[in-house]
């Protein structure tokens, strides 16, 4: 990338260094407000969770710092079920998202022609209605006398008199729905960039369609698959709206625990400890992803 203005004429030496200093100052001025905002309202708060988690006390008398490290084993032994459930639900939903989104993304990237942008728009459009309203609509759709249950029953997927709402299926379906665009868009981006001639070359050389797909398309779409998986899996771990509105306490995830401990019970240290654990897990996953695929490629696939 060429630095803009690098070719500007340079008069006297003194003026030149002053100019260079001013030029170095400009990006600093540009980033200072934004970075300060993120530092003060993102980075420091996330680290503060550790500080809050080690306090003891109660909401009435306040909390004091006692470096109570026991909060971590205690909270984990009490809520490991929700934590594992969150990972399980998030992983299942991510897989479902991939299964639904891959053919969709493939269709848009390869077959949709001049309607590409329209289809992309259609993918994100539903998400411009309120998340809560959408989830309430799923409540309506999945309700016991709704037609979806009827269809599932006639297909034998749900027992006669069985239900969808307030089950694990409903919660996972809700999460799948919510994060579908986060899977579909990176997949689309990588499939769209894929050079179709490579696939043609493979089939010309007598590879079957399936072999060509497996050996050419999938590996070349890997960055998109990777980015989509991360963008779906990580936020899904923290989701609690779907469990709240489509499930019962038996489907509650770690997000439900964090929000109820923070806002309802007001046991701040436990809530902070759990959210700090989730954040550490996320950072580990991200670090592994960057190690595996490289930050440049990952962020490109994620945002393109």
């Amino acid at each position: 990338m060429s630095q803009a203005g690098a070719t500007a004429p340079a008069p006297a030496l003194g003026r030149r260094s002053a100019l260079r200093r001013r030029r170095a100052l400009l990006p600093a001025l540009f980033v200072a407000p934004g970075l300060t905002w993120l530092l003060v309202f993102y980075a420091i708060p996330v680290l503060t969770q550790l500080w809050v988690s080690l306090q003891t006390g109660n909401p009435r008398d306040g909390f004091t710092q006692t470096w109570n490290w026991d909060v971590y084993p205690d909270a984990l032994s009490e809520y490991h079920e929700q934590l594992f459930r969150s990972v399980g639900y998030a992983a299942t939903a991510t897989l479902l998202c991939f299964i639904i989104a891959f053919p969709l993304a493939y269709f848009i990237a390869v077959k949709a022609g001049r309607f590409k942008n329209l289809f992309l728009l259609l993918i994100i459009l539903p998400f411009f209605t309120s998340l809560i309203v959408r989830t309430v609509a799923w409540q309506t759709l999945l309700s016991d006398d709704g037609w979806v249950v009827g269809v599932f029953q006639s297909l034998g997927l749900v027992d006669e008199g069985g239900r969808l709402l307030a089950t694990r299926t409903a919660v996972i379906a809700g999460i799948t729905y919510n994060f579908l665009p986060f899977m579909a868009l990176p997949l689309y981006a990588s499939l769209e960039r894929l050079d179709r001639r490579l696939v043609e070359a493979a089939t010309d050389l007598y590879a079957s369609r399936w072999t060509a797909f497996r050996k050419i398309t999938l590996p070349l779409a890997a960055p998109g698959i990777f980015a989509g998986t991360l963008l779906t899996f990580i936020p899904a771990i923290g989701d609690y709206i779907n469990a709240q509105l489509l499930g019962t306490t038996r489907q509650f995830m770690i997000g439900n625990v964090i929000q109820s401990q923070y806002i309802v019970v007001r046991d701040y240290p436990v809530a902070a400890a759990l959210s700090f654990v989730v954040m550490v897990c996320v950072l580990i996953i991200l670090a592994l992803a960057v190690r595996l695929i490289g930050s440049r490629q990952l962020s490109e696939a994620a945002v393109a």
């Binding site: 060429s2 503060t48 942008n117 411009f128 309203v133 729905y177």
Partner: protein
């Protein structure tokens, strides 16, 4: 050469894509449909007949209008701040090399990869530690924080797709950096800024999780709806959600048209420059 298997596979992919789109729009149809439901009683779960009453009286539920206006105001303010900060961040990240650029871009993107519940919990813990009052300002701060990354991503994409020669030409003709940014760069990335604003606004208006942690006594539209789920969501909520979607669709088409015109203008300019 297309065999029958190829055609069948094409058909399969096409059918799958259409089914996926139907799945995506299923709840949207339900939302729109139940905005016309002549529901008796508090709940709006079963279809009982068509009425336009809720559309004629969208504010007929106490507290709904206040919540809606609060949401729009918060979204407008935080979008304004986030886009202002984001334009300069994106400029610095794309157009300049400086020490710490990698770390800075990590800090910009990390909030995008953080589960919302962690963002909310972290901010609440921070506000509690500082004894900072939750409410209006606390929500705006939060919304700017988590929309900033989206703004930078959107504007960065536009900046990277831009022809550097135009900026270089301006500087060669004696314009200083600020003038170049003001007269050349900003007008050229205007569609990107518009798209980023739309995105930030939409994310902010819709946010529930982080807002729930930072709101205190303030009620936004998503918080109002969530609170109403226990006693039954009034159909007016469906009216507003449907209306909002229609506005967003209209804005998207406007943005698309403007971008198309800008692209054509760019092309013409390039053709003239080449001639």
């Amino acid at each position: 050469m297309r065999t029958r298997a190829d055609k069948l596979r094409d058909l399969g992919v096409r059918a799958w894509a259409i089914l996926a789109l139907i799945y995506l729009f299923l709840p949207i149809f339900v939302i729109a449909q139940f905005s016309f439901n002549d529901n008796r009683g508090r709940f709006n779960f079963t279809w009982q007949g068509f009425t336009l009453d809720h559309w004629k009286d969208p504010w007929g539920v106490p507290g709904l209008q206040d919540a809606f206006v609060t949401s729009l105001t918060i979204a407008a303010i935080s979008t304004l701040i986030a886009v202002t900060l984001g334009v300069f961040l994106a400029l610095a990240l794309v157009r300049y090399r400086w020490p710490g650029r990698g770390v800075a871009s990590g800090l910009v993107f990390l909030p995008l990869a953080t589960p919302e519940v962690v963002l909310g919990a972290a901010l609440l813990g921070w506000y509690l530690t500082l004894n900072f009052a939750r409410g209006y300002a606390a929500i705006v701060i939060a919304h700017v924080m988590f929309t900033l990354g989206y703004v930078v991503v959107t504007i960065r994409a536009r900046l990277e797709g831009m022809d550097l020669h135009i900026e270089e030409a301006a500087m060669d003709l004696g314009a200083n950096q600020l003038t170049t940014i003001r007269k050349i760069t900003l007008p050229l990335i205007a569609p990107g800024i518009a798209a980023a604003s739309l995105l930030a606004f939409a994310i902010s208006v819709d946010d529930f999780v982080v807002t729930n942690f930072t709101a205190g006594q303030t009620t936004t539209f998503p918080l109002f709806v969530f609170g109403a789920t226990r006693q039954g969501v009034p159909p007016q909520v469906n009216v507003l959600a449907t209306g909002l979607l229609v506005v967003v669709i209209a804005l998207m088409f406007v943005n698309l048209a403007v971008q198309r015109r800008a692209a054509r203008r760019d092309q013409r300019a390039m053709a003239q420059a080449g001639a």
